[in-house]
């Protein structure tokens, strides 16, 4: 019973992390039809910016409780600088190309940013443990959990609910849904599709950066941080269905619970189980669990 509870709690925390890391990927795919390998770079950029800026401010005597806002601010800062540059500077010339070619372009950008990060922040690890330890921890039975994990869950809920509200209940969101369904008709109706692409790419990347920023206090920020995030987010997004917001949530919960269950009951299978689930979903529902049938085009 105790262990089941632990599985559940670990699973929820891990799902929350996965959701924040992956949801931007599904948003970008839904709107722009780009499988964005660079998503991992934004995750890493967010983590580095958060760790270095928060660390520096704390060293200069900032009130520790402000660090939670600074984490967010750092993610915002780095994305607002980098994402529009990438979208306006490179990606917008590529939209006519094949999906797979655009994937390769984002892969090239990912390789470049792996080194850009090293050039800016060097190869030594960064630590900002203060925000993690600050809130203390709570006990459930014999298990101890830091309160910080609740912040992560909160961030996930805010991101998910915020996106859901924005897409369904605001003017911008409704226009965006129109763009998702048919770019050409939206353009003909006078929607500024280019602006929506820019917004989507920036916002989607921001979500990745936020994921990185709020993970930074729990890990040591080292080069290569984004590499694993890419495949994990691919798995989450593919399980739910590329481009589907509830799909990403479901994918995150499935992967999160499955992983925490295997860690507790069968630790040798930890990594491979996630990809097994991904392969099974692709094998039986190639377009993911939340997806509509697509007409075959001749």
């Amino acid at each position: 019973m105790e262990q089941l509870l632990a599985v559940l709690i670990d699973g929820i925390i891990y799902s929350a992390w996965l959701f924040v890391a992956a949801v931007g990927l599904t948003l970008i795919y839904g709107v722009m039809k780009i499988v964005n390998v660079m998503h991992g770079s934004f995750y890493a950029l967010g983590a580095y910016a958060a760790a270095s800026i928060t660390g520096a401010l704390l060293a200069h005597g900032m009130a520790p409780y402000l660090s939670y806002a600074v984490l967010l601010g750092a993610a915002l800062l780095v994305t607002v600088i980098v994402a529009p540059l990438i979208e306006r500077g490179i990606l917008r010339f590529m939209y006519a190309k094949d999906e797979v070619v655009i994937l390769l372009i984002t892969y090239a950008l990912f390789l470049i940013f792996e080194d850009v990060i090293k050039l800016i922040w060097g190869v030594n690890p960064y630590f900002v443990a203060e925000p993690y330890g600050l809130l203390g921890s709570f006990d459930i039975g014999d298990l101890t959990y830091p309160y910080y994990n609740l912040i992560l869950v909160g961030v996930a809920i805010v991101c998910g609910a915020g996106l859901y509200w924005m897409l369904g209940h605001t003017r911008t969101g409704k226009l965006l849904v129109a763009v998702i369904h048919d770019t050409e008709v939206s353009r003909a109706m006078g929607i500024n599709v280019d602006r929506f692409y820019l917004l989507t790419f920036t916002f989607g990347s921001l979500l990745a950066a936020i994921g990185g920023a709020y993970t930074a206090p729990t890990v040591s920020v080292v080069p290569g941080l984004g590499v694993e995030v890419i495949v994990l987010s691919f798995a989450v997004v593919v399980i739910g269905g590329l481009g589907s917001l509830p799909g990403a949530a479901l994918g995150a919960v499935i992967v999160g619970l499955v992983r925490s269950a295997t860690i507790h009951y069968l630790p040798q299978a930890e990594l491979f189980v996630i990809y097994l689930v991904m392969a099974m979903v692709l094998a039986f529902r190639p377009r993911g669990l939340f997806s509509l049938a697509e007409a075959r085009k001749i």
Binding site: I112, F113, D115, L119, I230, L282, P286
Partner: protein, 313 residues
């Protein structure tokens, strides 16, 4: 279709002779670089066959890794160390796996083909990382290479592996070249352009893709077995997605214009990688990424199109 004579077999013979003749005089590191390029070139040759149908596999490292581990296991369990045998073992193991997975993957196209192959290769990675009997994430070392039971002097081992690799690559490349000119081989661009019309003609796209998939897997296994004996060490990273990414990188760099292109691409990749790594260890990925961008933007048909363009003018 041009009526010009097919120059590829002749060029291949020339390259083989050049490699065999200059190998003994070349410094050890160039021999190593060349052998690794041959191993990767074999994998990329398979990816090129798939790319001609418009399929990009983001998990070809699966078969590379299967080939390498098949070779490694053979050495570990039965003390086999023959280069030729190990490569062959890698090929057979990978082809068998490719045959099985082919039933599933031949139904998939575009991004979903890539993602499913990625998932399958990551499953293998996850399994190997946690398998202590095979050294977990550290992998294990292979026995020193021999050929038909003969173990040459230390200075000659690398040349021997290179010679065998060159011969095997020569034969495989020639066979692939022939295959691409058979009706089944010529279906590839048709499948890429319009699959439904291929079906109207009475050909089965799924079957054609399955065949190509098994060929690609066999080539990747061959390359994996070769890489294992050349480097002398194998680990689960061989199945990780970044390895697949590297192969796709070379495929795009090389282009699908000729069966020689993958090897040229792999060699150039090896040179860029080692030179960039030498000059500045922290920016070699940046150099690679930028070259990939430049190639996609300015040479969408790969480096090989430089040759064909000149011929046309």
């Amino acid at each position: 279709m041009s009526t010009r004579r097919d120059l590829t077999p002749r060029t291949l013979v020339l390259i083989l002779v050049a490699i065999l003749a200059t190998g003994p005089f070349a410094p050890q590191w160039t021999v190593f670089l060349l052998t690794v390029a041959l191993a990767k070139g074999l994998v990329v040759l398979g990816l090129m066959i798939l790319l001609r149908c418009g399929l990009v596999s983001f998990g070809q490292a699966l078969y590379y890794c299967i080939g390498a581990y098949a070779a490694g296991m053979l050495g570990r369990l039965f003390q086999v160390s023959g280069v030729f045998t190990l490569m062959l073992a890698g090929m057979v193991a990978a082809a068998a796996a490719g045959f099985v997975f082919g039933f599933l993957l031949a139904r998939y196209r575009s991004i979903f083909f890539g993602l499913l192959s990625l998932a399958i290769s990551m499953i293998l990675y996850g399994l190997l990382v946690k398998t202590e009997a095979l050294g977990s994430s550290d992998g294990f070392n292979l026995l020193p290479s021999t050929l038909f039971g003969v173990r040459p002097a230390d200075t000659w081992v690398r040349y021997m592996v290179l010679a065998v690799a060159a011969a095997v690559a020569f034969v495989s490349t020639l066979l692939v070249h022939r295959y691409l000119r058979t009706p089944l081989g010529r279906l590839a661009p048709a499948i890429k352009d319009n699959e439904i019309r291929v079906e109207y003609m009475g050909a089965s796209a799924r079957h054609a893709i399955h065949v190509k998939y098994v060929i690609a897997a066999a080539l990747a296994g061959l390359g994996g077995g070769l890489a294992a004996t050349t480097v002398g060490h194998i680990d689960p990273e061989m199945a990780y997605w970044t390895t697949s990414g590297e192969f796709i990188f070379i495929t795009i760099l090389a282009g699908t214009g000729s069966v020689i292109a993958p090897f040229l691409g792999a060699l150039i990749f090896g040179i860029i990688q080692s030179v960039a790594f030498d000059i500045s260890p922290n920016t070699w990925q940046m150099v690679l990424g930028s070259s990939l961008l430049v190639v996609i933007l300015f040479l969408p048909n790969g480096l090989w199109s430089l040759f064909t363009r000149r011929k046309a003018s």
